[in-house]
């Protein structure tokens, strides 16, 4: 079963791509982590050009987060004002990042920047998850940690104080703008960003959990959609066949995972996730540190 990808201009095994989508969907259903940051490295490992891998992942995120955000919108778990503030931040940096990617790609530094970004993000998230899941397996309550970090809270001295009704918070507009800005960069680099947006909203902005998740999903759909449109237009980096195959696989994986969640213990799943994250980060480190077999390489030339 072969699929010829028009943008990556290569043939791939259709079943392998479906399996990738399935694993990402399964992972996101089991652990609640989106998985965009795992998909991009996986695609690069099978020879998809990094710029196409990074450009196509947001299409999958847009597709898979759409279902979740629709559910939360129906439930009323959505602070539209907070969402718009986050979105304003994320869109400005995401759109900027698309042009940065273009410049990096033309200068030949894109792969290096991607490698370092992924090492930093995957290493950090992997370590936090590892520590947290080990602690909860050992019986230490996560609630204690939550209260400790919530003590900081949003500061009242910042300008632009505003009421967010659904989120039941009054905070400076600058906080969601700043958080959105960070998410925007992550999203443009193919990492989604929901894994950071949700804990940041809960612990730093003190938004109720359900509202944080609902608002984050809306942020993911909107940001990923704009990033996909921009990547397709500016960098021609979105491979439609690749993205649709991944969305189909991931939808199936999410449903399969949904049946497994009641059977598998959550702590162990998150421990496995932590190990996967750290392994991918380690692979990037090894790739950067080992002496290359050939000092030279053929670099992609944008059309």
């Amino acid at each position: 079963m072969t699929l010829f990808l028009p943008i990556a201009h290569m043939d791939v095994n259709l079943l392998l791509i479906l399996a990738f989508g399935l694993s990402i969907g399964l992972l996101s259903a089991l652990t609640g982590v989106g998985g965009g940051f795992l998909l991009t490295p996986l695609l690069m490992m099978i020879g998809i050009p990094p710029v196409v891998a990074v450009g196509t992942t947001p299409a999958l995120i847009a597709g898979s987060a759409a279902a979740g955000s629709y559910t939360h919108w129906r439930l009323g778990n959505l602070d539209l004002r907070l969402g718009l503030a986050l979105l304003a931040g994320s869109l400005s940096t995401a759109i900027g990042s698309i042009f940065v990617i273009r410049v990096l790609q033309q200068g030949g530094h894109f792969d290096t920047v991607v490698a370092f970004t992924y090492i930093a993000i995957l290493g950090t998230v992997g370590t936090i998850t590892l520590v947290e899941s080990t602690r909860s397996m050992l019986g230490v309550s996560a609630a204690g940690a939550a209260q400790a970090s919530a003590a900081g809270g949003p500061s009242g001295w910042l300008p632009g104080q505003m009421d967010f009704k659904v989120a039941q918070q009054r905070m400076s507009l600058l906080l969601p703008l700043l958080l959105g800005a960070i998410i925007g960069v992550l999203n443009a680099f193919g990492m989604g960003g929901g894994f950071l947006a949700v804990p940041a909203m809960i612990y730093l902005l003190r938004v109720p959990t359900k509202v944080a998740i609902g608002t984050s999903l809306l942020l993911m759909v909107a940001t990923s959609s704009v990033v996909t449109v921009m990547q397709a237009d500016v960098n021609r980096a979105v491979d439609p066949f690749l993205a649709l195959t991944l969305i189909i696989g991931s939808a199936a994986g999410a449903q399969w995972g949904a049946r497994l969640t009641s059977v598998l213990p959550a702590e162990r799943l998150r421990l496995i996730l932590a190990v996967i994250l750290l392994a991918v980060a380690a692979k990037f480190v090894i790739g950067l540190v080992t002496t290359p077999a050939s000092l030279y390489g053929l670099a992609g030339v944008g059309s």
């Binding site: 609640g32 998850t129 929901g194 804990p199 649709l244 999410a254 949904a258 959550a266 950067l288 290359p292």
Partner: protein, 334 residues
């Protein structure tokens, strides 16, 4: 080759070949390509092109297949601290994206290197646009040689000895095994006949590789109307994601919780354990499914109030709970 084969192949070669002979060409050789157009479809894994030819006298045949020239870049890695990073790139404006050198026996046995070079029958003789300035290659490497080696690794530059078959002295045929990553464009086929190491006849043909059907439509849209393509494709992706999550929704005997969303914070919380105790009854829903959403919303919020300290993944469970309730609603309706 038997007589009947010769009788069959000869006129065929002349028949096709005569049509495509340029006015200036040497009539000592006739050449025909089997397919003038090769199409890339959605299941494309590469394609074979066939050549047929006829010469006046027996000799060695060398076929050079070259793609249209395109830009290329050669990057060089440098060690910065413990890391190997991209140290710089050499950009070349025009270089063949594919070069195949096919022959009936190893090129070194057919003619001297100088003679082969003269007719562009080595890789490097086709790479004149790559600078040989050693400042670009600190190790003193020959960039043309490096480039050809990398292209050989990718299977886009190849030497295939024995791929040209000579049938009965003056008739020959060749198979060109083009890979899946074959660049799109017009290909030039130059055929040379050598006798005792000297070139005695030459002929040129061509064929085109292009995308066809759906593949062509998609690829043209993505390149030429990239803005409209981006918008429409993103809408399609979102619609597909939504549609699949609704249509694939399982109806298990044992209700399960799910997060269909791309992101939540279950990584930092633990609420999966509460699943069996969730107080949902399908009785919360009207059998006909009306007023489903408001009822769903209310009962899910109640649920969240019942489990206030469930941890970060609580929201994910609410989402799952909705699915659960919808499933039981669907089951009841069905």
């Amino acid at each position: 080759m038997s007589t009947w084969q010769r009788l069959l192949l000869g006129p065929l070669v002349f028949g096709i070949g005569l049509c495509s002979i340029p006015a200036h060409a040497n009539p000592a050789m006739v050449l025909a390509v089997r397919h003038h157009q090769l199409g890339i479809t959605t299941g494309f894994t590469g394609v074979k092109e066939f050549l047929f030819g006829n010469t006046v006298q027996a000799g060695d045949i060398v076929v050079r297949v070259t793609s249209t020239n395109g830009p290329a870049a050669l990057s060089r890695k440098e060690q910065v601290g413990p890391f190997w990073l991209n140290g710089g790139e050499v950009h070349v404006a025009k270089v063949p994206q594919l070069i195949y050198l096919l022959s009936n026996r190893p090129l070194a046995d057919i003619a001297s290197r100088a003679e082969l070079k003269r007719y562009g029958l080595t890789f490097r003789s086709n790479l004149a646009s790559i600078p040989t300035d050693t400042r670009l290659a600190p190790g003193g490497d020959n960039l043309r040689k490096v480039f050809a080696r990398l292209k050989e690794n990718d299977g886009l530059y190849r030497k295939i000895a024995g791929d040209v078959r000579i049938h009965d002295g003056t008739l020959f045929s060749a198979t060109i095994p083009l890979p899946a990553a074959v660049p799109i464009g017009t290909y030039r086929v130059d055929t040379f006949e050598f006798r005792n190491g000297k070139m005695i006849a030459q002929q040129t043909g061509s064929f085109r590789v292009h995308e066809v059907g759906f593949e062509r439509w998609v690829s043209r849209a993505a390149v030429h109307d990239s803005g409209a393509f981006g918008v429409l494709f993103t809408l399609l992706a979102v619609a597909l994601g939504l549609g699949l999550s609704v249509s694939l929704r399982p109806r298990p005997r044992q209700p399960a919780l799910a997060t269909t969303g791309g992101a939540s914070a279950a990584a930092l919380g633990s609420a999966r354990g509460i699943a069996p105790q969730m107080p949902f009854r399908s009785g919360l829903l009207k059998p006909d499914g009306t007023a489903l959403s408001s009822r769903l919303a209310r009962s899910a919020r109640n649920c969240a109030d019942i489990f206030p300290a469930a941890g970060l993944a609580q929201g994910g469970d609410i989402e799952g709970a909705v699915q659960l309730m919808e499933q039981s609603g669907q089951q009841k309706q069905a």
